[in-house]
Structure formats: C-alpha cells, structure tokens
C-alpha cells in the first residue's frame, strides 16, 4: 500500500515539474509585470524602475525560474508584490477559506447527489425520476455564475438570509463560537450554489450506475437468494454503484477549483480562486505561479486520492 502511494507519488513528480515550467513560462509571457499598473503621476517612474531591478524582474526567465524553483524546494514561494508579504503567508490566509468552502461544497454535493441519484436510479422512468432528470438537465444548462448571482440576489439581498460577502463577520474574535458559526453562515450560500449546479453530474452518474447495476447478474443472484427489494438495493446495488462515485471523489477537486474561481468572485469570498484572478490581472507573478502550482498539485493529489480510494474500496484492484 505504502509502496504504491510512494511510487504513485514518484510519477507525479515529473508532472509537477513540467507543470511548474509551463506555468512559469506562461506567467513570464504575460504582458506587463506587477509594476505596470502603477502608472500614476504621484509615483516616480524612476522609483518603479529601481524596484523592478531590485525585484529581479529584469533578469532572463531561466535565471528567474531556477531561483524560483530553488525557493519552492525550500518552501519559499517568493514574495507577493502586491501584498508585500511572502506568498506562503498569503496563501495560508486564503487557503483556509477555500478549503472549508470546498469541504462544504463536497458535503452538499453528495448530500444532494446520493439521495437523488438513488431515487432516480431505483425508480427509473417514473415521474419522480423524470423530475430529478429534469433538474439535472436544467442544472447542466444553467451557467454556474448566473445561478450564483441569482442565489445571491434572492437569498442574500432580497430575503437577507445569508451574508452577501466575506468569509466571516468583521467584529468577531477568532476562537469563539460566534466566530465559527459566522464562518459557517458565510460558507453556506456559496457552497450551496456550487453544489446545486455541480451535483447534477454526480446525480446522473449515480443514476445510470444504479440502472446498470440493477441489471447485473449478481443482483439476480441476490433476488434468487430471496433478498427483499430494499435489501437488494441497500446491500447490493447501492454499494456497488457508489464505488465509482467514490473513485471520482478525488477528481472532484479539479471541478471544485473551477467552481471556486467563479463563486469566490461573485460572493466576494477571499479564497484562492479570487486570489488567482486578481493576481493575473495585477501580474503578481509569484502569486499566480504559486496558486496554479498549488491547484495543479491539488489536482494531481486528487487523482492520486481517487486511485487510492478506488484501490481501497474495490477488492478487484486492491493493493496488498
């Protein structure tokens, strides 16, 4: 098992290196740099030039890359130009938010997907199934950002059930119960917005998985043993159908990355997605590099996770 994970990690290594080179080159190729935006008569161009030199922005890319990679290995992702703090600190601040948002989203996604998929798959081609399928169709067709805006509009502003921005109420002290509750409250609407849209693929997947499993021979065996319908579903069909869903769990991370980029923007939620967009716009290269690398690593880890989960839950490929 450990051997497997280690070996799996070994092959992710070249992926990460390739990714880092790619990202770095792309970031370098972007027009302008962090100082381009400072076209302000209040700020002396000479000062800007001096800073550029100081930040090493005038060096050739490979020198910069080697420096950067050297730093990365020591856990130093460089300094954010805009925030004037080490990128690691900046990410530390933000990643907590994105992490919890993702966790909440995943919980909602599965909370919605599993029952709906089960019902839809079990009672396929009934009215109930059609309604759920209808929902998945609409979900597929609705762009996340429009949906999120509407959610924000209705529940944030018109009904005022949820806060409309930020990750926590300003006046609360960390560590208190109110603080935790406030954080949760801030998470709910964005997480629900992603989940309601994103879950449809899982619902559909689960549905077709159940419809498939229903027709497998071993289900007939179970029936022939005299198992009741509910037992057949709970013990045999569901378990076997959830397996691929569980296996895709790791890949969900990549989907979440996309979701958070949109959602954080709309809900002014200070997480990694928002950080990424603003850093691209501001040409805060060290941050762009770090965020993409991190998300890339997250996706790689996600794939790894999927493999591991699959290998744990599926005895057919269980690793010893």
């Amino acid at each position: 098992m450990w051997k497997f994970i280690v070996r799996r990690l070994v092959i992710t290594f070249p992926q990460l290196i390739l990714l880092s080179v790619l990202i770095f080159l792309l970031a370098q190729a972007m027009p302008g740099d962090a100082l381009t935006g400072l076209v302000d008569p209040n700020i002396d161009p000479a000062t800007i030039d001096e800073q550029r030199e100081k930040l090493g922005l005038n060096k050739p890319w490979y020198e910069k890359y080697i420096e950067w990679v050297g730093g990365v290995f020591q856990g130093d992702l460089g300094q954010s130009f805009r925030y004037k703090i080490p990128v690691t600190d900046l990410i530390e601040e933000r990643i907590v938010n994105t992490f919890w948002l993702s966790v909440a989203t995943l919980i909602f996604t599965y909370m919605i997907a599993v029952p709906l998929g089960m019902i839809s798959g079990r009672y396929n081609d009934t009215i109930l199934d059609s309604s759920i399928t209808g929902y998945t169709y609409i979900g597929f067709a609705t762009p996340l950002f429009i949906f999120a805006l509407v959610m924000l509009w209705i529940f944030g502003y018109h009904l005022q059930w949820f806060p409309t921005g930020g990750s926590v109420a300003p006046e609360l002290k960390p560590g208190t119960l109110e603080y935790v509750l406030s954080r949760i409250q801030h998470l709910l609407l964005p997480a629900l917005s992603i989940a309601l849209i994103q879950t449809v693929s899982t619902v559909q997947y689960l549905r077709s998985e159940i419809v498939d499993t229903k027709q497998k021979d071993f289900i007939i065996t179970a029936r022939a043993k005299g198992a009741s319908e509910s037992r057949v579903y709970n013990r045999h069909i569901l378990r076997n159908s959830l397996l691929p869903i569980a296996a895709f769990f790791g890949y969900e991370i990549t989907t979440l990355i996309t979701g958070t980029i949109f959602i954080e923007q709309i809900f002014s939620f200070p997480g990694m997605g928002q950080l990424f967009i603003e850093s691209v716009l501001q040409r805060d290269f060290s941050v762009v590099n770090a965020v993409v690398l991190l998300f890339g690593a997250a996706a790689i880890v996600g794939a790894l996770l999927s493999d591991i989960i699959l290998s744990i839950v599926d005895p057919r490929i269980r690793i010893k």
Binding site: V39, I43, R82, G134, L152, T164, G165
Partner: protein, 592 residues
Amino acid sequence: MRTTHVSKWLLALMFFMFLVLAACGNGSGDAIYSIEDFSENASTEGEAIDGGTLNYGLVTDTTFEGTLNYNFYSGSFDNEIIKWFDESLLSVDKNHKYTQDGAATFEVSEDHRTFTFTIRDHVNWHDGEPVKAEDWAYAIEVIGHPDYDGPRYDSSFRNIEGMEEYHNGEVDSISGLEVVDAKTLKITYIEGTPSLLAGGIWPYALPKHIFEDIPVADMSASDAVRKNPIGFGPFKVEGIVPGESVSMTANEDYWQGPPKLDGVTVKVVNPQTIVQALKSGDVDTVDSFPTDQYADVETELTNVEFLGTVDMSYSYIGFKLGTWDKKAQEVKPNPDAKMADVNLRRAMWYAVDNEAVAKQFYNGLRWNANTLIPPSHPDYHDSSIEAPTYDPEKAKQILDEAGYLDTNNDGMRENPDGEELIINFASMSGGGDIAEPLTNYYIQAWKEVGLNVQLLDGRLIELNSFYDKIGQNGDDAPEVDMYQGAWSVATDVDPSSLYGRQAIFNFSRYASEENDRLLEEGTSEKAFDPEYRKKVYSEWQQLMVDKIPVFPTLYRSKLVPINKRVVNYSIGADFMGLHEVGVTQEKTFKAE
C-alpha cells in the same frame, strides 16, 4: 413522459426569472445630472446619538492588500482604511495646499528651502506614546532607505538634502533632516518650489519605538503593519480579517477630541452588490460609487444621500508625436509623425461630441473637458479657455484646408501627399461597460468627418499591454498613432510628470521650448506667488489647447452615497473631522 417534464421545468424556470425581473422594477435611467447638484457635505440634521458604529464599504471585487501604513501601502483601498486610524500631520485646503490646522504646524524659511515643523502636544500614538519629531524623521529615513520596498520614494524625497547619498548607501544619515527637539523637525530641501506646499512634503510619521527593531526590508510584511497597525487618528484598529474587513474602535485620546462614534467597520463590498448593500443598510457609505449606476438607483436608494465632488482625474485622447530616447532619458519629438499636423489633431477634437457622450453615457456626471488641469484644482483650472467643441463641419473644413482630402473617392481622406491615411487607435479595456461603445463612438465620429481610424488589435487592450504599447517602459509601439487614456492627477498642480520633457509618462512624446519654459516657471521661486503661478498654468493650459499633443475629453465627478443617519460627514479634500462624524440612530435606514 420525460419530454413534458423537461419542458415544464424550462417553462417554470423562465417564469421564475421573469418574476425576479418584475420584482426588481424599472429604474429611470434617462435623467441628466450635474455635479453642481451635489454637495460635499452630508446634509442630515439632527442630534448624533452617543456612540454607534459606522459601516464603511470598500467597493472592490477583490480584497484589500492589508498594508495598513501610510509609509508602505500602495493600493488605494488600504488608504481608505488607514485614513480612519492614522492621519497626515499636515492639514490641507481645497487646493491640496498645506495649512496650519493639522497635528503639526510649520514655518518656511525665506529661501523656501527649509521647513520647521512643530507637532502639537497631546498628539499621541494609540499606544499612548507621544508622536515625536523623530517618528516623522524616521518615516522619511525608512522611505529613503535602500531596502525600502514601497512605492513612495520619488523626486520629492530626492529633493531633501543629502537624500541621494543616503539612498545610495554612501552615508548613514540624511543631512537635510534635523530633529531639533522632541516635537520639532527641520527639513531642508535642495530646491524650494511651490510644489512642496502641495503634497511635496511627506506628512506621515512612523512610530519609531515600534519599527526600530524591524529591518527595513521586512517592515511592510511585519505584524506592525498588517496585524496590529497603529496611528494617531480618531479610531484604533481592533481586529482585521485579512483582505475582508477591519473593525475599529474610538480613540478617546484623539488630539482633536474623542470621536462621537463608538467605532467604524470597514469592509469589502462587491461592486455587483453595492446597491443592495446600501439599500439594506448593510453599509452606511462606501469609498466610491460607480457613477454610471447612479441614474438607475437614484430613486430607489431613498435611505441614502449622495455626496458629490469633482474627481482628481480626466479622460483624454493622445497623439503619438515622437518617441522616447532611452539614452538621454527624454522625449524625442518626431516632426514627421503621422499625427504631426496640429490641424489634423484639432479637427479630430472638433469631430467628437463629448457633451453628448457625457450626457448620454454618463447622465451628465462626467462633462466636457477643456483643459488638462481639471476643476479639482479650483485655483488653477482655467474654465475660460475655449477649447474645440463638437462641430463636424468645422472639422471637415480644417481638414480640407490642411490638405487632407479624399483623393481616391473611397469616402476616406488621404493625407496631403495623397497617400492613404489609416490612423491606429489604441484604447484600454476596463472602465465598465461604457469603455467599448465609447471607443467605437469616437471611431465612428472620426469616420463621419472622413478619417479612417482603426481600433488597434480590433479590440480594447488590457491594461498591462496597453501601457506597454504606449510606452511606459520607453518602448513605444510604432503601430500606435493615437490612444485613449485617463489620468488621475497629483495633489500638486504641476503637470511636468505627465507632460515634461523628461517624463516617461509623457506618452504623446510632445516637447517644445515653450512647454519646457512654462513647466519650469510653474515650479520656480516666483511661483510661490499664487497669482503668478496661476497665470503660468493658464498659459500652459492654453498652449496645450493650441498644440493638442493630447486633448482632454471628460472631467469626472466622484459620488459617495451616505446613509441618512450619518451626520457631519464630508468628502471634501480638506475634511478632517472624522471624529465629529456621528449617527442619529443605532440602526441604519433601509430603503423602502
């Protein structure tokens, strides 16, 4: 069966969306306003209650950087936060000139080179330490330090005696800086110019007893800046949620007296939800409000009052008249440039209807500009100068006379040599929904008078590429013939950083002796006489209208909504009464 269900769903969804739309009602949107209609000061009358918390919104779709110190910040949002808990030692008037009402007073020597500042008693840092002269001097030393990583070190610092040497690491102290006693600071400048009095002096102190032990390079990332910032302003920082919000409480020890409010909460508000935030009373006021939304929400936002002032900025259209000489570090005009003929440029000015643009696009909240010094500097802006206004016939006439004729009858004019004339126009994206139609409008207007203007790249150019192209690094892209941009102006009226011969930001690359002379005189000794200075800049404004290296298109107003429960609030440049601001009731007003 699935068939009917999906379509039913779709119908239901559409119906629902219509309901949402219907519920939103309809705004007017056609009204025309004027900056004259707005006041800088909140008009709410009534007794402020004891206490209350003001909610201050920062309108941004990202976050604030959190560099919460005047000496290090670079984002404007940080500035909006710092102003509540720290302040300038020097007060200013409407023209951004220093006055004697601030936490420090000053005396100027005869030669206008030496300034002696005296910090008032009772001006104390939030931790109780008095604000001392050495704190002020320390701020200047830090900014001048070779390791300093902020954007503040500029010509006004280089103007301090001994600063260059110190900055280059040749000496350990700045000769022009003298701490006379605990409360008195003397600064000697190399050159005494009127600019010094309008933003040329660094008026912010840095608490030395806190920063002393931190290496300069680490200061901006330190907790003293990011987590526990202090100042000597009316409020004290209580808690920071990085990037999102800052909560502050009253500083009872404030030198102008204890504030009326219990505290202030500054938090980020997404521009997409700003109106709702105001409507629901979620925030009392915001740092700025998108003026193009005003017409839509004016009637809706019954719970707020809109304050207005002239923004320190203007939009303009520039022509490339030369290049940047990197070696000499100065502008190199090119008399053979495509746009070199002033008549062509003038005709283009005549061809555009900025008044209509202002009214139709901006509901009058931007207005036709005539000179390059905006009315935000009321003493220097010369409203009497007559600049070209919309007159397409005149434009055509000028072009005809200058020899720009349509010789091949394709509907577009050729240049005087009969060669095809295609003018490449660079325009920047951003600036909301209007940037794009506005650009297209200009191109259309020029087409109307027979000029073939093409949008460079066929699209609006993203900010970074735009400034790269028009030459912020000195590498002017040769394909750019003209461009559209906007400047926000400095507190001092002196425009040489934008139009001087040595200014890299002089993107039009225009230079002339007359221009050099006027810019020099504007900052000369003589210019300490306000009347003289005014005259010089009038002449300069006229020169620009005559030579048209760039022409201003629109001046801008700045609108700030404020909840009607807030009293004594102002957005004037000279406002220094944050401690006076109060609220008439605990809860905000909500819109009906």
